[in-house]
Symmetry: C2
Subunit: 278 residues, 2 copies
């Protein structure tokens, strides 16, 4: 765009280098947030594989040289910071006005922030979940993908109680799906269960990792439908994501749970996640 | 963020001035696309009112001085270009890592592009709509809002046929809702009908304007549920948005329609939209 056409950001001319990227306009991209620990990207290979499969689901083209560039840049940031939360975003490039994607190529945005200030008791004594009033829309074509359309999670992260560690979200048809920034596992009648994410929710890398661990070295895991009523019969529960690993759950709404439970301890030991509030 | 923390965009340090804005990360913002014609923003007051009410729906704070700044900047762009498509975006400012909004203040992004190259026949002979295979998720808390989570529209804008002018979208429960970038009106048994947008869809400014016109100076308008089957009984139809005004519809899937129909002509005359492909 030239001549009288162009962009202003807070009143100043915005460089076309960044101001056309389509996450900025439509959330048209995918991302992963990864733990940086001792200068390393934890679960690096799995994270890159998930980013690649999510990119493919949105028809984003992320060829080998661009993967290598992201890996190099992410590695440099990780080494420099030692510890942090690294978000890696692929954003569809500007391809002209409107929803139609004029290109499937990607810009890449890396963001490294300090780790959040979670108290150690989140890992040792467990966390408190509330039921979110925000319901996840049923959208099979986007379910599971960690894309940049995250207003449901933004709305569900508002107005938390002082003792609230996470909010648990149901879909529009009343199924339990996930936390705002975590996936959930519960133990019911001795069976580890986590919700299916074929209609809504985000398939976190840590969720996949834990399902793998549970199936190969632990108690197994059922992926299925979970009703709020069933949660009342849970004997233990935990939430997980790539930053925190596993947090035992000590309360969901009015329901008290032993934390950490037996299976939660077993899986935490198998996972051996580096960060536990230290 | 300082020291080893920060952001890289395509390998280069990204200014914190823009790289934290939350539409870029979560689509956490709202927008309007308006027609600039003869140096003026068409329907300026209504567009600003809609932008304000959508901002409020997402708890975005857009105080009078920021409204005035946007108006001044938009006005300058409009005068300089004469004609164009102006997108006005409010994006929640960076307020720290994660979904939780650390602030409700907004950045503002203005983007002025040349008008799309629609042939005059779109207005005079009508357009061809296809049924989109992408279904809109049911999400009552976000329905109607023109927010920046628009992946459904992006997906629905892929792979169009050469003669396709727009794709018509249904929701996950099978109701007809809207086009990818337009709202739809149909005439059934002499009654003008447009879909309710309380479960999905975008309430375009032009849709509201046409409903007002139809109710105050035209044939009236019913806002309700519309099934694909009912479309088969339509005697005429049109789609609308703020850029194009009204496009008569001459075909929806396999259904041929007279274009422009009698009520479509009446409403087009009442609307007196400046741009009709000239």
């Amino acid at each position: 765009m030239s001549g009288p056409f162009g962009r202003l950001f807070n009143g100043r001319p915005a460089s076309p280098d960044w101001s056309g990227t389509r996450t900025l306009h439509y959330g048209d991209g995918v991302f992963r947030t990864v733990l940086v620990w001792q200068g390393q990207i934890i679960d690096r290979q799995r994270q890159f594989a998930r980013l690649a499969s999510d990119a493919e689901a949105l028809h984003l083209h992320w060829p080998a040289p661009a993967v290598a560039a992201l890996a190099t840049e992410a590695g440099s940031l990780a080494v420099a910071a030692g510890r942090g939360a690294l978000r890696m975003t692929l954003s569809r490039i500007d391809g002209g006005r409107g929803y139609h994607a004029g290109s499937d190529d990607c810009d890449r945005l890396l963001e490294l922030r300090p780790l959040p200030d979670h108290p150690t008791r989140c890992w040792t004594e467990g966390v408190v979940l509330y039921w979110s009033p925000v319901l996840l829309g049923i959208q099979r074509q986007l379910a599971g993908i960690k894309h940049c359309n995250r207003l449901e999670q933004v709305l569900a992260s508002r107005g938390w109680q002082p003792d609230q560690d996470e909010a648990l979200m149901c879909d529009a048809e009343g199924r339990v799906i996930c936390g705002t920034r975590s996936n959930i596992f519960v133990v019911i009648d001795g069976v580890l269960v986590t919700p299916a994410l074929d209609r809504s929710g985000v398939a976190g890398q840590m969720r996949e990792h834990i399902i793998d661990l549970a199936c190969t070295r632990g108690p197994g895991c059922e992926i299925g439908t979970l009703a709020p009523d069933e949660i009342r019969h849970a004997s233990e529960a935990f939430v997980c994501n790539s930053l925190i690993g596993i947090w035992p759950v000590r309360r969901i709404g009015g329901l008290e749970l032993p934390a950490p439970g037996v299976l939660t301890q077993q899986l935490s030991a198998l996972l051996d996640h580096p960060w536990a509030g230290s």
